[in-house]
Symmetry: C2
Subunit: 313 residues, 2 copies
């Protein structure tokens, strides 16, 4: 079974780990990952979500912190601070930095982000094909109430999501092209899963790449979404603040409604919610309630099994 | 007294430290530093000679190793090797890396190398004005006998200077412009010193920047050179191999002759050689023999005092 998963960072990586566990060694899993978080700092191209997925599936991630490398050190970051760098707020670990250097060197040599990603993944042996949603650089920007417009990373990491959000913009996405292999993977999938990532700033930028949403809508494969909201709060991150900004209720029903039923031009053939959200109704979308806490790969694989079962209804 | 010093990396940095000691707190010392060693790796602009001078004068250098930062760590380099990076032969320390990141970020934002250098130097409080010879990127390349053409760093660091040299080329220097302040500093100097750096690959690229040699030749200030060759060997580095490639004898007399007498269109009003080379004759150039081993700042300051005295003859 060829499975395509749309995913963001930490939550997406954990979900993919469960998909990989469910699929087993012979499985075919393609991750289409958000690139809106990508940011250029000190001349380096940094791709937080791609790297989180890569490190997590490759076994090189820091499990406690959730992002970045295990055994990370912070010498470069301290030195940047000693230089008074205005960007020393960013969590640029020494080990992590090597990833950005290899990538930036390849991009400078004219290779695409997909090619750089594939080269980086050679080291990590993911067992999953990792594709950036687009090879074109575009950025999720936050238009704030009182602090102007800033990069998503600046809003979230530097300001800890404090500035009030007017709206999110995917700056440059409208002219971006889906990365090599993305549309073909979706068209050739037996199952498309929308991971429990932030629907606004993780899944949103993927769908904002021209052609991606359309490819999903037209795919012969069933499309099953997994709610990242349990009860009235996100499992991880700041989806509550992001959903409020786009006028969507922070609930499994709210997010399901945002994605919408495929039968009426939306994305979903099925919507997986947590057991505490049993009874959730999304117009035109079959909903199933199962435990959605991704405690370990076995728990997450059980979610995937439920998604596969829902797809087969 | 306004002193301008032409300098390369390790030897130039030690010499500058002595010039600074001689000049004292009220002194005016401007270092015009080689940029031919500059190299782009992983998308970063790396300036080995500028950084060696900056770290040395700023007290942040590793005295044992001679180059790079004191207390250096190598996490990023190990990670680059784990990725199979073809450039992991380069000594890219973690602390050092922060310098390249700040510089590259500023260049990416449209600032000049001079501006980036000044910004970096704010942290280090050099007591010397540090100027790159040019803001334009050009590179010293080595045309080898059997291994093609390679960057100077690749020849020296990766291959330890082993490949036979046909010639050195300063690729891009012919269309480079002297950095802001360089020609004015030379024109306004009371004394120009050519440090005991490699005449071919450290001083050579500085003189290859259009206008620099001419500014020195026309400067009203006396120009005193300091031999980097003692007996028949360079104090540091590989000047012997470089001199052989340009057909110049590896001796104080050979290098003095390469620079030439100002009275006949060359650079020198005086040439300082080591006591073991007393009796050295350079056509048209007054020569003085004093101890040239830069054991410490006091020894080096004594060399500078001798140069000043020679300039006043």
């Amino acid at each position: 079974m060829r499975i395509v998963v749309l995913a963001g960072g930490v939550g997406g990586a954990r979900f993919l780990s469960g998909v990989k566990a469910w699929a087993g060694p012979g499985g075919s899993v393609t991750a289409v990952v958000n690139v809106g978080d990508n940011v250029t700092m000190h001349g380096l191209t940094i791709c937080p979500d791609l790297d989180t997925v890569m490190y997590t599936l490759g076994g090189g991630n820091d499990r406690q912190r959730g992002w970045g490398r295990a055994g990370e050190t912070w010498v470069v970051k301290e030195e940047l601070a000693a230089y008074g760098s205005p960007q020393s707020w960013f969590g640029l670990g020494d080990r992590d930095l090597a990833t950005h250097l290899v990538r930036t060197g390849m991009l400078a040599a004219g290779r695409t982000l997909s090619e750089a990603t594939a080269e980086l993944c050679r080291r990590w042996d993911l067992g999953v094909e990792l594709l950036p949603a687009s090879d074109d650089h575009f950025e999720t920007h936050v238009v704030t109430e009182n602090d102007g417009t800033m990069h998503f990373q600046e809003w979230w990491v530097r300001h800890r999501g404090a500035p009030g959000v007017v709206r999110f913009e995917f700056d440059g996405a409208a002219t971006a092209t889906a990365a090599s292999g993305v549309l073909a993977a979706i068209a050739g999938a037996d199952l498309v899963l929308i991971g429990p990532s932030n629907p606004v700033v993780s899944i949103g930028p993927i769908l904002a790449v021209p052609g991606v949403r359309d490819a999903i809508v037209k795919s012969p494969a069933p499309v099953i979404g997994v709610s990242g909201i349990i009860g009235d709060a996100p499992v991880l991150g700041m989806a509550d603040r992001c959903l409020r900004a786009v006028g969507v209720e922070c609930s499994a029903a709210g997010v399901g409604g945002l994605y919408g039923a495929r039968s009426s031009g939306g994305l979903l053939d099925g919507w997986l919610v947590d057991t505490v959200d049993a009874g959730t109704v999304v117009d035109g979308v079959p909903v199933r309630a199962v435990p959605l806490w991704m405690r370990d790969d076995a728990a997450t694989a059980a979610m995937v099994a439920a998604a596969v079962e829902l797809a087969g209804r």
